[in-house]
Amino acid sequence: MSNETNYDQMYSQSRRTALPSGTEAPDFSLRSTPDQWLSLSEFRGQPLIIAFYPADWSPVCGDQMALYNEILPEFQKLGAKLVGISVDGAWCHAAFAKDRKLHFPLLADFEPKGAVARSYGAYREKDGVSERALFVINADGLVHWSYVSPVGVNPGAAGILSALEELQPKKEAAAVS
């Protein structure tokens, strides 16, 4: 949980610079495994959750990614896909995903380092890692919701779920519990 002495430091300017609702989500193409690539454009037509996180293996990230791993069925029910992005390389991601049995892709924002996080206004220059930032991209590729969490705090899933529910077609919204 939060380290109270550093609480102020954990908040950063990205709380203001993260791309807001309505912005077009910058396209990217990143390695998802040592020999495969994933692009934002491949997710057109369905909601996409992008979870930027500072680093593989760090305790809070682990908890956060473990939580999302557990909730994948809920995200799927809402028609959404999930990707995690950090500056770690593809081999590091592969080891982390295997160890934690993650069932969603981790993308390597590795070269040029942090370029994608920067384009979303979610990069911590001082630390050389991305923020713990969440984006829900709608089917048309626009940012529907974004949130930057204090780095040491697991932002959970409640905000993501509300955002995804807002994107449901009206008729179905009532049926999704």
Partner: protein, 180 residues
């Protein structure tokens, strides 16, 4: 604007829940937990101590939040508690599960059921048929929407408790919430 941190309980404690304590109290402590999670195991004696101290004016409720990918026995254990509950032994099983976190195979669960005088074969049959999977899922979903990001997570009168997991601060928070 949506509030940035949603940390209020979205599904209030009600008759559907497993609740310990007097029928009507000014303070309700709710835990979302996972029987295979070591941190929940560590919090179990703390909850016991709280109940010992103020159990006469407090209600305690427990909901399941099994992280099955990390804890392969957690879902089964949660269903075992529910299956025991169907035979009137939820809290007894709850205690046994937390006290034996590293022994949650079917054999172990059957043994605990027998120890409690429950019908062990019915309990195992119900777990294998996933009779209570829906109920466990309901708990899990309500946690997700209430800001349960890991386990254990406590709520006091519907507000997430983010303070230290220790007796004194929790008693103070309960006393404050309960107006004691």
């Amino acid at each position: 604007m949506r509030p940035e941190l949603l940390e209020r309980l979205t599904v209030p404690v009600s008759k559907r829940d497993h609740i310990l304590g007097p029928a009507d109290t000014s303070a309700i402590l709710l835990e979302y937990g996972d029987y295979e999670c070591p941190a929940c195991g560590a919090a179990h004696p703390l909850v016991k101590a709280i109940l010992e101290s103020v159990g006469d004016r407090l209600r305690f409720a427990f909901r399941h939040f099994p992280l099955s990918n990390v804890h392969p026995h957690a879902e089964r254990a949660a269903e075992a508690a529910e299956a025991a509950g169907a035979q009137g032994g939820f809290w007894e099983m709850h205690d046994l599960l937390f006290e034996n976190q590293d022994a949650l195979d079917y054999d172990d669960l059957a043994e605990y059921a027998a120890m409690l005088g429950l019908d062990a074969s019915r309990l195992i049959r119900e777990i294998m048929a996933n009779a209570y999977a829906g109920r466990v899922r309901e708990d899990f979903s309500s946690g997700l929407r209430s800001g349960v990001n890991g386990t254990p997570t406590f709520f006091i009168n519907g507000v997430r408790y983010d303070g230290p997991r220790a007796l004194e601060p929790m008693l103070a928070a309960l006393a404050y919430a309960g107006g004691w």
